[in-house]
Symmetry: C2
Subunit: 398 residues, 2 copies
Amino acid sequence: MKFNFSKRVPQNDDDAVGSILKAAVDPKVISLAGGLPSPDLFPVKELKKAADEVFDNDGKTALQYGMAAGYEKLREQVAEMTRKRGIECSADDVVITTGTEQSIDLVGKLLVNPGDTVLVEKPTYLCTLDVLRSYGAKLVGVDMDEHGMRMDALKKALDEHPDAKLLYTIPNFQNPTGRTMPNARREEMEKMLAERNIVILEDDPYGKVRYSGKDQYPVKHFDHTGNVIYQSSFSKFLVPGLRLGWIVADPAFIKRLVPMKQSTDLHSDNLSQYVVSRYLAENDIQKHVDQICALYKKRAETMMKELDEKAPKGVTHSNPEGGMFLWVKAPESVNTVDLFKECIKHHVAFVPGAPFYPGKVTQGTFRLNFSNADSKTIKIAIDRLCDALNEFMKTTSK
Amino acid sequence: MKFNFSKRVPQNDDDAVGSILKAAVDPKVISLAGGLPSPDLFPVKELKKAADEVFDNDGKTALQYGMAAGYEKLREQVAEMTRKRGIECSADDVVITTGTEQSIDLVGKLLVNPGDTVLVEKPTYLCTLDVLRSYGAKLVGVDMDEHGMRMDALKKALDEHPDAKLLYTIPNFQNPTGRTMPNARREEMEKMLAERNIVILEDDPYGKVRYSGKDQYPVKHFDHTGNVIYQSSFSKFLVPGLRLGWIVADPAFIKRLVPMKQSTDLHSDNLSQYVVSRYLAENDIQKHVDQICALYKKRAETMMKELDEKAPKGVTHSNPEGGMFLWVKAPESVNTVDLFKECIKHHVAFVPGAPFYPGKVTQGTFRLNFSNADSKTIKIAIDRLCDALNEFMKTTSK
């Protein structure tokens, strides 16, 4: 059977990221490629206790079908957490999703017609690019600096694309760059987009995992018209295996989101919603987040120190205040896909910059993850990476 | 903010099914409207034991990100169950999904371009109609008789729509009619569609819940070209709250399905996959299914007996050999949306036939669920329903 796939499906066999992740699976390779949180701090015991209590007290309800918008008590808890971040909302404004990826997929499905222009940071989360492309979006990258999206570049993009439908941003510890937008820029961005009646999808999976600097308000905090759709998830500050995220948005958006969520997977895993709700009721989540921040701070600092000491001249990196990623810039003459192959020989892996770009790629870039390896392993990995980099840059500059 | 939703989103506010389910929520109303399995037989204790063991032995892995295709051990177990139903397959041919609804959504996204023709049974599962419409499908209903889709009607539909892309069928205890296709029809259907290079999506959520008659082979059993995509789920014979289903398909389809699943929600709930896998390893699932079948048989027989005794002349019903639904036919002069409002006054609810039809509605039809109320409650409900029917038919025939 030769399947006649829809236009949404990439028709080529080129799965660059898949091949990268496959190469990184070799047990001899230390992978700094993935985006996995550290399992060292998964609260297994506490979640087991919560699950036991759910089975004992709410077993039949938690195992039955639930509501498309999500378990009401969890929606209330999420609303409370969200209010603490500076966003006015109630449980009615919250929809529980099967993780951030689904949130992006639902927003794309609800808003993007084939050919619609969507603005994104350049570079940005590669899976978002895939999802938006599957809905036929025309992706326009907006330049960044060390403080996130540049407002002059945004203004220019808006002037060139007055019909833009949506802007996607990760304002905190961005994936892949680790950069954070300051409040002033967030407010300015929101003002520009609201004036033009363009929706902002604010993706904030890492926001709670800040280990230095000062919390900034979500873009949605500055939203007076309802044009900002805010999303986050439990993956990065609790556990990712339970696949639970959420969307907070204007009632007019929620009204269409709930039936679309229902026709996508009816509702998210009910048992997991009950378990997380009970966990949140019984545990001090901030204390848990503080532990994660302390661990990641140490790992990030180790990685940066090692890079500063060992990387060849001309190699720089971002300086994240939280999150899980470091963005490295080598000279533009370094093709990081080729560098990746060299690194695999040195038994270390990363993600080359190319797949994070919506269009033209800035050469010499790659992403490192520091959340999923301990400091000792990070030291060995950066040693190997810098050896490979040194050799590679010597060879290619000949 | 006035959102400019995509063409995929129904632009009207008419949510017939939503209003029905809302009316049915009144605690005074006995609802035969939903499609809920009986929680009386949820294996809460056994699932708790399985969950405890997962937390103790595999906690950090089960709570971490997993593979897009699903937990390998569960895929092996699903492959084994599927082989027992007469489908040759291995774990590599299986993808775990976040329930049947997501399976349908993924298949629609992968195959249906706006304007593509999709053949469906008339009537069929209403959520499938919503999903296919969201991808712009042109839905063509094929007539049924008491043994499912009629082959002469299918031939006619294929002659009229030679460009049809997909056929969606529920061959066992169909939703909403409860009807089952015999083997001969399944084989003939598969032959006709394979010759024309048209994909069949075989939806089999109820297949294991057969309480009379003889198991029929899945349509995929007769598939020699790879054109049948088979799907099922744990919702109807284990629990629905864990949101786990699966797709078994040709390698050429699986190859595109896995990245699309990944860009939809990365993967299904990992903890739930581990828990179900362990449950299946430790328990005799067939024994559990036998208990469900015995309970549903009793409930279905009670409902049919009550209807036969009390329903007005001219009212008939299907005679299902399994599943959860009974399809009732009153004279075509009975508008069952109006009848529904009358029934709510009598404190009983069902789903009127209209939303199950892809196009022209056969009047006088409605669906009853018999899995989620005990026999005593069913008797009271059918009493009320028949009272309402009697009054309604007297008034409308005046």
